[in-house]
Amino acid sequence: MMNRARFGAFLAGWTLAAACGALHAQTPEGGETVAGEEAPATSPPLIDAPNVQFSGFGTLGAVYTDDSKVRFIRPSTNHPGKENPDFGADSLLGAQANITLGPHSALVLQAVSREDALGSYKPRASLAFLSWAFTPNVTVRAGRVRTPFFMLSETIDINYSNPWIRPPTEVYSMFPFKELDGVDLLVSGSLGGFDVEFHPYFGSSNLSIYQSGRGKLRNVRGANISATRGHLTMFFGHGEADFSLKWKGEDFRLLASNLRRTLFPGGPPLVVNGEDILRDLSGNDGEGDFSVAGVQWDDGKWLFIGEYNKLRANRYAHHAHAWELTAGRRFGDFMPYVMVAGHSEDRPITSQRVQLAVPVPGAAEQLNAGLDSFLASRNLSQKSATLGLRWDFFRNTALKLEFTHARISNRSWGSFYPKELSFDDTSKLDKLMWKRSVNTIGVSVDVTF
């Protein structure tokens, strides 16, 4: 019920924004009046307007999961909704103010309300930075910006700018930190006929993860290069970070207490390397790096998008790679598209196996199975194929329909979550989730105003 009440408040905000958008859209659409035939003095000069520009964006979306046993989730982005269809996965509302402070400086503020991993719709500051343009080609920004880790990370909530209802979860749940508090540099230039943007960044970031997880990035340092020529855009990036990841959920507590069992009350540990394993799963000493290569082609008729990402971490997170390929074809305001995507684990979070102090029949197998269940619940590996249709039926408004067939990989939960969660017998969860095929149907309306 709590979730529903929160969504209700969110929906009220959405309605208000939609009303504003409709009023805005009522300004003369054609506007083809011949200048000079009207009294020119009726239009106030622009220079008198305050140097603040307001704009916004939103998505109202629902995902129906064709499976009564599991729920769809955008891992670390939203809360796995109990309702089906779930309005929490994609619905969001954002407002932005661009404030010009001087000829070279500006302040940009953006807040976004969407369901987070804890089920709250409390608005978050998603942009809050001061920018300073040193030269026409070099701008420094300090404050909060969007994490620029992957090709479309900075516009992860701007669904209007993307063909799909949401960027593929296989790729964008890989390293799902949202905001970067720090400083970045935007350097633009021309190179070999390409418009090039060089984008180094430095900062820190926080993330809540369902269930009872908390991630923190420190000393995030990386750089992206994007190069555009005509219809073609190429994107390359690499970053590194120190990170911590802490779990406090029931599944972690149970696993930890099993790995900390003693031979007898107050005695030595049963699992010799129990603490070693736990140090691989949760703590403050993580180091990771990620790389991305992407390409986009959009000639107005054909749209192609491809992206490949790789993540490595010394602990707490698995090594993985993810990819997606999209092809779309525009027919006027309609664009059907297909997408295939995959996320594969290259190395589990830990490869340690339980070592017992004394042989106890069946105990090692049971403890290892519990560990594997835990690792699987943090593994996003799956493959999916999506068929979609985007309809730009009104100015700044797009309707999208998507059908997705996803197959969760072995020893993985993919982008799904069990509907009934009980850790009494984790083998039941394994049986439920591993290698499961799930269909989802999504519908959404995106607006910008």
Binding site: G31, V34, A35, N137
Partner: protein, 171 residues
Amino acid sequence: MSRSRLSPFRAVLTLALAALFAGATVPAIAPAAAETTRANPAAKSDTPATTPDVQLVASIDGAVRTLTREEAKQLFLGHRNRLNDGTPVTLIDLPSGQTRNQLYQQLTGKNPIQVRANWSRLVFSGRVRPPREAGSESEALEWLASTPNAIGYLPADVSDKRLKVLLVVGG
């Protein structure tokens, strides 16, 4: 408003060059009484014989003196918001319609849907400020005439003493 810089010679030269560049007929120079003229009002009928060219314009008194086609393309793609000499620029968009679509298509090669997606991407990632959208052509004209750093576009058959033509984007 000071119009001291408006020399008839310069106005004729600009229009002549613009016409030459675009292969359009030279619009009559505005008579003193009316500031804005339309060379061929018939072109505003529902079925124009040919699509008029689009001209990029700025205030005659403003900071924008020249504009290369490459600069214009970069500005309207949102890849930059200043001129080569560092002058910050405010872009003025016309409301949705033929002139706007034509400008973006010919300058950036993007159709209206691509243009809107591109601006939303750049604006909401905090890269650039969105263009100011005028409610009508006449409002755009007033804004352009009265805002020193504004660059906008109008059909090539519109001329106004307070504006200078920076570039004509032909079909």
